[in-house]
């Protein structure tokens, strides 16, 4: 197994999005595993008894996420920039800022996140259509939590 071949394998994993490649050859077993955050180049080389060349490629990483993607509407996620309580409207009796199907422009207020007695207005950064509201009114939310899906247009 030379360095060039190893580089090729790592590249293949990166480019095709497969999750794992395992190769046994000439008494050497190499496993290259991809990370959600990028290929980790975690190469485990373990000597094994000499065996014929065999390769097994798993494409399991995407099956779970494609399922999820099918259930979730298309578009970009709006994620919480702070920690607090999520409110869909300016007050309990008011109409929500946005609903599914609404067209929005950059700067439009999508929701309020209350933190430390302050009401923070969260504004849209893209123009498009709201395709999903992911959090219930008055729920606690954490940093980076997905709140809305906007289909850009």
């Amino acid at each position: 197994m030379d360095l060039e071949r190893l580089r090729e394998i790592i590249q293949i994993v990166e480019e095709t999005g497969i999750s794992e490649v395992e190769i046994e050859q000439d008494g050497l077993r190499i496993v290259v595993r991809a990370n959600p955050t990028g290929v980790s180049h975690q190469v485990v080389a373990a000597p094994v008894a000499a065996a014929p060349v065999s390769t097994s490629i798993e494409s399991s990483s995407d099956s779970a996420t494609t399922e999820q993607a099918a259930a979730e509407p298309a578009g970009t996620q709006v994620r919480a920039p702070i920690v607090g309580t999520f409110y869909r409207a300016a007050s309990p009796d008011a109409t929500p800022f946005v609903a599914v199907g609404d067209r929005i422009n950059p700067g439009d207020v999508l929701c309020i996140i209350e933190a430390m007695k302050l009401m923070n207005e969260i504004e849209a950064e893209v123009s498009g259509t709201v395709t999903a509201v992911l959090v219930e009114n008055a729920s606690p939310i954490e940093f980076d939590q997905p709140l809305f899906i906007i289909e850009p247009s």
Partner: protein, 449 residues
Amino acid sequence: MIQKVLIANRGEIALRIIRTCHEMGLKTVAVFSTADRDSLHVRFADEAVCIGPPPGRDSYLRPDRIIAAAEVTGAQAIHPGYGFLAENADFSAICEDHDIKFIGPAPSTIRMMGDKSFAKNTMRNAGVPVVPGSDDVVKSGPIGKRVALETGFPVIIKASAGGGGRGMRIAWTEDEFESQYAVAKAEAESAFGNGDLYVEKFITGPRHIEIQVLGDGKGSVIHFGERECSIQRRHQKLIEESPSPVVDEALRAKMGAAAIAGAEAVNYEGAGTVEFLLDDQQNFYFMEMNTRIQVEHPVTEEVTDCDLVEYQIRVAMGESVKERDIPIEGHAIECRINAEDPFRNFSPSPGTVSTFHPSGGHGVRVDTHVYAGYQIPPYYDSMIAKLIAKGRTRDLAIRKMLRALDEFVIEGVKTTIPFHLQLLADEKFQAGSFDTGFLDTFELKPPEE
């Protein structure tokens, strides 16, 4: 009433605090940055709230996000751990403003002890010995010399704006004071753009000895004996032990009384540590006070059979501290295991820990947040485990530690375990004869191929 505690920290100390909370029947909330999503403290806590991206300044150092997390989860108290916001007086005050109990001292106490010269004066007024010298900057060579004569030689001439060992000169006798003063001034001006100097007694053969205290904020303070922390590399502690091989009962009583006097003078609430320098004549001098739980608290816990985190929480709940002597039994040593390569000048070794099998057995304690498959984030410090060994005597504790270091398996990253093995086997270390300069001359043997 405190029923739910938010831990404003990460890593091994967050786990440590969560463990005691669960033993006490308290609910726990972990906060984490996106880099710590798979961290053990997140898994073990009852609830967890993501508070920001990886950098500390955008997450663990954000009082607003931490308070918001306490609000949405209904936590009544926040334990700050060590580092991050643990000694941030403003954070202690913000908690107060939001009716959240900060598990630690009052904001004013943190502020007072954080100001080094204020702390020194407070201690001096409480009758605690402090390092003699100029209280402030010396305006000229002749004035400096006068201070030096009053203090007694040798003295150290230090840059006020200094650090990293620069702008410091030792004058062993009166004759060389003026020239050393001039050199120090020139160095300080060039390194820090500020030639201000002060003069202090130079402690020969200094050992770093610290006393663990606990106060209830109602006037009662007790101490738990000392920790010997002289094994330091660039002012970072690597090995700590309790008791110190050079502190006998009489000295312990004196240092303990001094630490208590200092803590009582500021009506201290919570766990704290009073640091002293001990010279080779058994004289001790106040250095500074840390108003938090410390990394090396386990060695005190092992020889006093106390849970210091539990005491912190109980004091925060309003319990009074009963004044009493705490008996010390046996000897405990702690090795801080870092993801660093000791043979490459301790350069950090980030990456994924592929195998992790901690030591165990009689007298061995491991405080760690690491597990097999864990990816060490590059954003925080490199400590991956604290290995603590306790024996009936110091020799037995050393033997146990050597055995425990030998069987600790960590693969995938380089660690300082080989360094600790050499250090624990060193003659001088085993004899207990070392001071804070020990590691400057310690020679690490290269790894066997």
